[in-house]
Amino acid sequence: MAPATQFEIAQSPGDALTAVVFAPDDPSRLLVSSWDRKLYMYDVAQGKEEATLVKTFDHRAPVLAVCFGANKDVAFTGGVDRWVKKINLATGEQTVLSEHTAPVRCVVYSPDHSILISASWDCSLHIHHISDDSKPSTPLKIQLPGKAYSLAASPSKVVVAMTARLVHIYDLPTIASVLALSATSNGHSDTDAKADNSGIPTPVVSDIQPWQQRESPLKFLTRAVSCMPNDAGYATSSIEGRVAVEWFEDTPESQARKYAFKCHRQVAPEEEGGGDIVYPVHALAFHPVYGTFASGGGDGTVALWDAEAKRRMRQYQGLPEGVHSLGFSGDGKYLAIGTCPNFEHGMEDYSGVGRTHVFIRELSETEAKGKGSK
C-alpha cells in the first residue's frame, strides 16, 4: 500500500485560483485557472512528489473556469471577459467559441456527447457541439431563471445551480439531439452569424426545457455542484457550511434518500462569544472510481465523504487558506487541492498574491474507498 503523501506545487499561480482540474486521461496533466488572467498547465511527475509548470496561457481577463475536452491536449476556459474559449494545449492556439453578455462562471464538457456547456452570470447556458473541425459551430443558448453559479455533468445529466437556490437538471441526450437538429437546419445562417460578430458565432436561442427543476435543499446560496460518476445523483454545497446529497430519479423512494449535513465549521473561542464560525463549502468533487466525494471549505480543510454510508472517511487539515477548488485525477489516485484566501464581507482589497497554493495529494489504495452502506 502506497503511503499517502501530499506536496505543494512550487510554482503556484500569481493570484487567487478559480479551478484546478486533472486531464481525465492523464493524471500527470493539471490545469489551474487564476484571477491573474492566466491558465497554468502543470506536469505532475508520477511518484516523484513534484510538479513543474509547463506553460501558461494568457487571457484578456481573469479566468473563472477550465475543463478538459476529449483528450489531454484540448481545454476549454471561460472568464470575466465573457468568452468561452477552446485552447489547444499542445500548440497554444486559442479559439473563441462564443461570447456571453456577462462573465462565464463554469464550463463543463461531456465526452459521451461531445458537448461543451458554459454557464454565465448573464443567466444563460451556451451549448456547443465540439468536433475536430477547427471552425466553431453555432452554439445554442438556453435562458436560465437566475445567474449560474455552478455546473456539473454526469454521463447523462447536467446540473446547473443558480441564484435563489434554483437547481435545473438537463438531460444530455435531449440536448444532443436538439443540437444535432439545429446544426443541420442552420447550416447557412451559421456563416452569416459569424460575419457580423468578428468571427465569434452568435448563439441561437433554444427552448430546451430542463428535465427537472428543483429547489436546493440548502437554505443558503449554492456554492458548488458535483455529479456522481455513476449517474445516480449529485451533491451541492452552500456558503453556510452544508452539503446536500440528492438523487436524480424522481420517485418518492429516491427522493426520500436525499440528505444534508453540516461541515466545515469551527467552534469560535468563548471570548469571542462562542458559537460556530461557518465557512462556505467552495468545492466538491466526486471520486471517479469509488463514488465517494471530497468537499473543500473556507476553513482550510478537505473532507472525504462516503455518500452511500453517510460517513466521513478522512479529513485533511492544516491547509494555509480556504480550499477553493478540488479535482481528482482520472484514475482517482491524485487529488489536487487549490487554496487561496477567502473573500469576506466588504473586502475591497482582496488579493490572492503570494497566498495561493496548489497541493497534490497522492491517495493510497484504500484512502478514498468507501466501506459501503452495509
Partner: protein, 295 residues
C-alpha cells in the same frame, strides 16, 4: 457523522415531574431520594442526629427529648426556613412557590430549546423538516409557547374539575369565597403559567390570589424571588397595590429579542451574502475588472 446513540433529551413534562426540595430548590431523580435528602439535610436533629420525617416532627422531638424549641429549618434558602409549612417530600409545598418553580423550569426549557434549535439549525420537532427557514423559527417558538400554554390550560381545567369534585364534600373548609383553584388571570395564562398540581394542601383554604408573586418574579431571578413570605397580609397588600397582569407581558418580547441577538452571535458566517457569489464580488474589484477593448 458517527452513529452514536443520542442522549435522551427530557421534555417539559418530564422536567416538571421531577421532585424537588422546597427548602433548597434542589431537584431529584425520584421521590425517595428527595425524602432521604430532606431527612438528612433539613429534618435532622442537631443534638442527636435523629432523622425526622417533617419539620413539625423535628420540633416535637426537640421539645420532648432535648427540651428545646426549634426556631427554624436548617440549610434552607432565604425565606424558606419557616416552620409553618409542613413539608414531606413534594407534599405541602405552597401553591405559589410550586407555580414559581414550574414556571422557571418551563422558561429554562424553552430557552434551551431555542438555543439548541439555533445551534443545530434543526426545525422544531414535528415540523416535517422542510419549509421552516431560520426566520420562521422565532415564530414557531411563539407558537410552541402558545401551544404549551394551551395544553397547560387544558390540563389545569381537567385537574381543577377533578379537584373540585374531590373538594365537593369539604367545601365548607375550602371557604374564603375563592373556589379552591383560582383560574389564573388571562395575562398570566398566555405567558407560560402552569396549573396548580393537586397537592395535599390544595385543600387548605388556598393561598389567596396566588398570582401576586409573579410580579416581582418577573424581574428577580427565581431563586432569590423566594422572598415570598407566608405573610398573607403582605400578599393582600401587594394585590391591592395594583399588580396588574399586563406587567407580565413585558418579559416575553424582551426574551425574544435577546434570543435573536444570540442567534447572530452563535453562528458567524464567513461569507453571508445570499445574492452574489464571492467571485462576482471579486470581479467587480478594479484589480480584476475587465474593460472590453473593442467596445
Amino acid at each position: 457523522m458517527p452513529g452514536k446513540k443520542r442522549a435522551h433529551v427530557p421534555d417539559v413534562q418530564e422536567l416538571l415531574e421531577k421532585p424537588w426540595c422546597y427548602y433548597c430548590e434542589r431537584e431529584f431523580e425520584d421521590l425517595k431520594m428527595l425524602i432521604s435528602h430532606q431527612k438528612a439535610k433539613h429534618f435532622k436533629c442537631s443534638r442527636c442526629n435523629k432523622r425526622l420525617n417533617t419539620a413539625g416532627g423535628l420540633a416535637v422531638h426537640m421539645t420532648q427529648v432535648h427540651k428545646e424549641t426549634l426556631e427554624m429549618v436548617e440549610n434552607t434558602i432565604q425565606g424558606r426556613e419557616g416552620l409553618e409549612v409542613e413539608i414531606f417530600g413534594m407534599e405541602g409545598v405552597p401553591a405559589d412557590i410550586l407555580h414559581e418553580h414550574q414556571r422557571a423550569i418551563v422558561l429554562e426549557y424553552n430557552a434551551k430549546q431555542m438555543e439548541r434549535r439555533i445551534a443545530t439549525g434543526n426545525p422544531p420537532p414535528g415540523q416535517g423538516g422542510h419549509v421552516s427557514t431560520k426566520r420562521l423559527k422565532t415564530e414557531t417558538s411563539e407558537e410552541l409557547k402558545a401551544r404549551l400554554a394551551e395544553f397547560k390550560a387544558k390540563n389545569a381545567a381537567a385537574k381543577a374539575a377533578k379537584a373540585a369534585a374531590a373538594n365537593g364534600g369539604i367545601s365548607a373548609e375550602a371557604n374564603a369565597g375563592s373556589p379552591g383553584h383560582i383560574s389564573p388571570p388571562p395575562g398570566a395564562q398566555s405567558a407560560f403559567n402552569l396549573p396548580a398540581r393537586p397537592t395535599v394542601n390544595a385543600l387548605a383554604p388556598t393561598v389567596l390570589p396566588a398570582r401576586p408573586p409573579y410580579h416581582y418574579n418577573a424581574s428577580v431571578p427565581s431563586a432569590t424571588a423566594s422572598a415570598i413570605s407566608d405573610d398573607i397580609d403582605e400578599m393582600i397588600r401587594m394585590a391591592e397595590a395594583g399588580i396588574k397582569p399586563p406587567q407580565q407581558q413585558s418579559p416575553a418580547p424582551e426574551a425574544s429579542t435577546e434570543k435573536k441577538g444570540k442567534k447572530e452571535k452563535h453562528v458567524r458566517m464567513v461569507y453571508g451574502t445570499s445574492d452574489a457569489s464571492p467571485e462576482e464580488r471579486i470581479s467587480t474589484l478594479t484589480a480584476y475588472n475587465f474593460v472590453s477593448v473593442g467596445a
